[in-house]
Symmetry: C2
């Protein structure tokens, strides 16, 4: 990146990675909106905390203290936004966390230096 002529260089820090595109930002903000609810954050965490990173509605209804229809409603929103995957096996539906659902932004929020290893474009 070239610093525009005449701009106060003392305030300007160069880009070292490719920022997110507007379209990706819109898609990600939809996922964050789905997580702007304490119950859905707990459900996502509960699914991830089970063996193999997957759980059945029956495993996670009791810990959140809500009815199964309410839990199923929240899980549906997490599936629709691509944060959880759902697989029907006989009587039960199993839910698992979708890896990389938040793209490199989850790395950024984990550790700002993590993106250095993500192979993003250097400026």
């Amino acid at each position: 990146m070239v610093t525009p002529a005449g701009q106060d260089a003392s305030c300007c820090i160069p880009l070292t990675a490719a920022p997110i595109t507007p379209d990706d930002a819109t898609e990600l903000s939809r996922k964050f909106k789905a997580l702007a609810d304490p119950t859905r954050v707990r459900l996502l965490s509960l699914v991830a905390a089970h063996e193999g990173g997957e759980a059945c509605v029956c495993d996670i209804t009791e810990p959140v203290g809500l009815s199964q229809p309410t839990v199923s409603h929240h899980l549906k929103i997490l599936v629709e936004t691509g944060l959880l995957a759902r697989e029907q096996r006989g009587t039960w539906a199993f839910y698992s966390v979708v890896p990389g659902a938040l793209g490199h932004l989850s790395d950024v929020l984990r550790d700002p230096t993590a993106r250095e290893t993500q192979g993003l474009v250097k400026g």
Copy 2:
């Protein structure tokens, strides 16, 4: 974790990590709410993409195509929710991503197996 007697064992998967507490879920959902906006997702990504993981308002106003007061308003929300840190240096305010702002949930969303290395309690 002990499977309750009489429950259909075929549907039950054991816990292998500690799920998030209700208080932490509430705190995290506030941060996700701050990110339920495409502009704020872009700003967070832009800050992280700059050298050293920090940027000045002057670095990120032009890329998002908004006025500096509007950008400052969005940055203030990201600071208030603990996603960005703000440091005043002379004329300019510099913003940096707060590492670990989403706790182990950002690891869960990055890779469901990542939590295995987080030292969380095994069930």
